[in-house]
């Protein structure tokens, strides 16, 4: 059989949380992120697979939507791709519509709109295993007759029915089924008129029923009436008198008091675990890098090259990689929350607080993603319908502490507070402080951005499910490998640069302290000392903070170079830092100075990729650069206030 010259294009469409991305991953073998909440896919992704007949298919995974009249930017992408309006991309040749069999009635409305557009459509009845377990009886044959398209029962998580589904996608595709419902003569003539005058049939069909149009309500009602008739024979419900597990759990987890107690305890457990459970693997990594350093020292004769490899590369990269266990633990908990269905509940709980600052609970989901990394958080704001609310959320989002700040917190907190529980509490406090400030900033920003109407809260709460271990492992592995890649590229390069700045130029003196003062690092430090000394920092800390604008993680490497300490040894480094003295002999790293550094890192936007993404999402450098300078200035002023006011209080 000869391979076709061009792969056929199929769009994967469905309501949010219908299981589109799980099916996409199963069919294409990709590893796109899956979550048990609405809005886990926010952009167009594509992959390919072969049908049993050997035809190559390009599958386009699209953000979930309830209809083809978008309420938010992510839904707009779906509409645009289907109509061929997305970045000059041709419209797909076929649509694979994923329906959640456990909520079939609600998902058929989108299906009927897609059939109306005139595409050949195949409906994948996903989660049929769950539907059967709930006693729902679905007759795919009856549904196929009513809608005029194939309905294929599948379960994307268990790969059930996927071969049959691939058979139903054989190329050449069948002709479109055509509109299954018929409206009044008035509606029919409006449709005929609209499709004639529009550029394409699809645009015409959508235009006649668009929001605010004369026939919007009647077309919507006619479609729903057809759905009710069509499913009266194709779907049988069981006796629903018994309350489901999700409802029972929600009666506690969404309770105004018990729900909050659970939420706070859950967050405390997460942060305590990050300190408690990471200690052992951190020690292991530390020992491995120490051994590697010792081994290299035996191989390479003493000199600058050995210093570069041992003090620059191994110490620099190793000093960042020892935080891998903490990063993995953080992502383990985040993916458990996403996969279990709790994320949407957190948004529900937070809506009360969010509304007080003029945002809706929906905006809390991107903020939660921001704890992992600001970039996916900013992209997740595409699920927010209101443009001004979206902009306000983007502007405040970097104040939710991302995982790149974690190494700095983990270094500084134990120097200030002993005990894993108290340290966990302090870490939780840092995250709370960042979030609270972000929300207050939203309250100040929103009226200035000109947002008039109060946000309406409307959110689907997915049923609780046991977290999918495969998905949790995939997400943790993805983030861990990204962290390792960063350590092996950006951090490696910066470590070499820091080593160079901390080693050259050489002085003629043999005294290490004189040599240290002659280096570029010391020269930069002296130049910025007047700016950073009001914050309680010395020149070395100032240089480390400047270096961390390239990547926050190198703060630690830079301090290690400046103080010539053994960076892989966590305890030795803390000891060196805690013994560091000012010129007057007083202790340098006091708890107040530690607090000043932490406060700076909470508020400073030291991430160039974030600024680039903000520019792309807002379409303007004005917002991106404004955010960068405002956050840096705020961070400086906050650290200044903490140190100066703290000093005054301690002097009393």
């Amino acid at each position: 059989m000869s391979a076709p010259s061009r792969s056929a294009r199929i769009a994967l469409v469905g309501n949010p949380n219908a299981g589109k991305t799980t099916l996409f991953n199963e069919l294409t073998g990709q590893n796109q992120k899956v979550g048990n909440y609405s809005g886990s896919t926010i952009s167009r992704k594509s992959g390919s697979f072969y049908t049993p007949h050997g035809h190559q298919i390009e599958l386009i995974d699209l953000p979930g939507t309830y209809s083809l009249y978008p309420n938010s930017p992510d839904e707009q992408i779906t509409r645009d791709v289907l109509l061929g309006d997305h970045q000059n991309e041709e419209a797909p040749e076929m649509v694979l519509c994923v329906l959640d069999a456990t909520h079939l009635e609600r998902h058929l409305y989108l299906l009927i709109q897609i059939i109306d557009l005139g595409f050949p459509v195949v409906a994948a009845l996903n989660k049929t295993d769950l539907a059967e377990a709930r006693g729902l009886r679905i007759d795919p044959t009856v549904l196929s007759e009513q809608f005029g398209i194939p309905f294929v029962p599948i379960s994307a998580t268990t790969s059930r029915g996927l071969t049959t589904l691939k058979h139903s996608l054989r190329h050449p595709f069948p002709p479109p089924a055509g509109r299954a419902w018929k409206g009044t003569s008035e509606i029919e003539s409006a449709i005929a008129q609209s499709t004639e005058s529009a550029t394409t049939h699809q645009h015409g069909i959508l235009k006649v029923g668009e929001p605010g149009s004369e026939h919007e309500q009647s077309i919507q009602k006619t479609r729903f009436a057809f759905i009710h008739r069509a499913i009266s024979n194709g779907l049988k419900h069981p006796d629903q008198s018994s309350r489901r597990l999700s409802e029972h759990l929600d009666s506690h987890l969404l309770h105004p008091l018990r729900g909050w107690i659970f939420f706070v305890l859950l967050m405390l457990t997460v942060f305590w675990s990050i300190f408690e459970f990471a200690a052992l693997p951190m020690d292991f990594i530390e020992v491995q890098f120490e051994n590697l350093g010792a081994m290299v020292e035996r191989w390479i004769p003493e000199g600058d090259f050995r210093s570069l490899v041992v003090d620059g590369i191994i110490a620099g990269v190793g000093g960042v990689l020892i935080f891998l266990p903490q990063i993995m633990l953080l992502f383990f908990f985040i993916s458990i929350l996403e996969s279990s269905g709790y994320m949407a509940r957190a948004a529900f709980l937070m809506d009360g607080i969010m509304s007080k600052v003029g945002l809706s609970g929906k905006a809390f989901l991107p903020l939660l993603s921001g704890y992992a990394c600001a970039i996916p958080g900013i992209l997740a704001t595409r699920t927010i319908p209101n443009a001004k609310e979206r902009l306000a959320t983007i502007l405040i989002l970097p104040w939710t502490s991302c995982s790149a700040r974690l190494p700095v917190y983990i270094l500084m907190i134990p120097m200030m507070i002993p005990g894993a529980f108290a340290q966990g509490l302090a870490l939780l406090g840092i995250y709370v402080l960042g979030t609270v400030t972000a929300l207050l900033a939203a309250k100040i920003l929103k009226p200035r951005l000109g947002v008039a109407e109060p946000p309406q809260f409307l959110l689907e709460l997915p049923p609780y499910q046991r977290p999918q271990i495969k998905e949790v492992i995939r997400q943790v592995w993805d983030r861990a490998s990204a962290f390792i890649r960063k350590a092996g590229t950006v951090i490696l390069g910066l470590s070499v640069l820091l080593w160079f700045l901390g080693t050259y130029p050489k002085s003629t003196s043999d005294d290490p302290s004189v040599q240290q003062k002659a280096t570029f690092n010391a020269q930069i430090g002296r130049a910025i000392e007047p700016i950073v000394s009001p914050l309680g920092w010395d020149d070395k800390m100032g240089t480390a903070v400047i270096a961390s604008f390239a990547a926050r993680e190198v703060f630690r490497s830079s301090l290690a170079v400046s103080y010539a300490t053994d960076e892989e040894d966590e305890k030795a480094m803390r000891e060196t830092l805690s013994q560091a003295k000012r010129d007057d002999g007083s202790k340098l790293y006091t708890p107040l100075v530690g607090l000043s550094i932490i406060v700076f890192f909470i508020y400073a936007l030291q991430c160039l990729p974030t600024t680039v993404v903000v520019r792309r999402e807002t379409g303007s450098w004005k917002w991106a650069l404004g955010q960068l300078s405002a956050m840096t200035l705020f961070a400086y002023l906050a650290a200044l206030m903490v140190y100066q006011i703290g000093k005054l209080i301690l002097a009393i």
């Binding site: 309830y66 209809s67 009249y69 309420n71 456990t102 909520h103 079939l104 009635e105 609600r106 409305y109 709930r134 729902l136 929001p211 919007e216 309500q217 919507q220 009602k221 729903f224 009710h228 629903q240 999700s246 409802e247 929600d250 009666s251 969404l254 105004p256 949407a344 529900f348 809506d351 009360g352 509304s355 609970g361 109060p454 309406q456 809260f457 409307l458 959110l459 689907e460 709460l461 049923p463």
Partner: protein, 82 residues
């Protein structure tokens, strides 16, 4: 249904926010600025809805799906006892 009976039914309709929790209702009609969005997510005429909680944001079940909606939106949904 006779006209009088229909009118009586419409008159006796409550908004979803006024309806009692724990009971099942049928959606009679939608009235307000967010009708389209409500229908799209599942609150369309004739559908059965079970109200679970009251409050600023309320919880209800429709076709087996749990949905949370603000009081302003619930005020736009008129229901009758199922």
């Amino acid at each position: 249904m006779p006209v009088l009976a229909t009118e009586l039914q419409v008159d006796s309709a409550l908004t979803l926010s006024q309806a009692a929790t724990g009971c099942e209702f049928q959606i009679r009609e939608l009235e307000g600025t967010n009708c389209r969005q409500l229908r799209e997510i599942g609150f369309c005429e004739e559908m059965r809805v079970r109200k679970l909680t009251n409050g600023r944001n309320m919880l209800c079940t429709i076709c087996g799906t749990q949905l949370a909606l603000s009081k302003d939106l619930a005020d736009q949904i008129r229901v009758i006892p199922a």
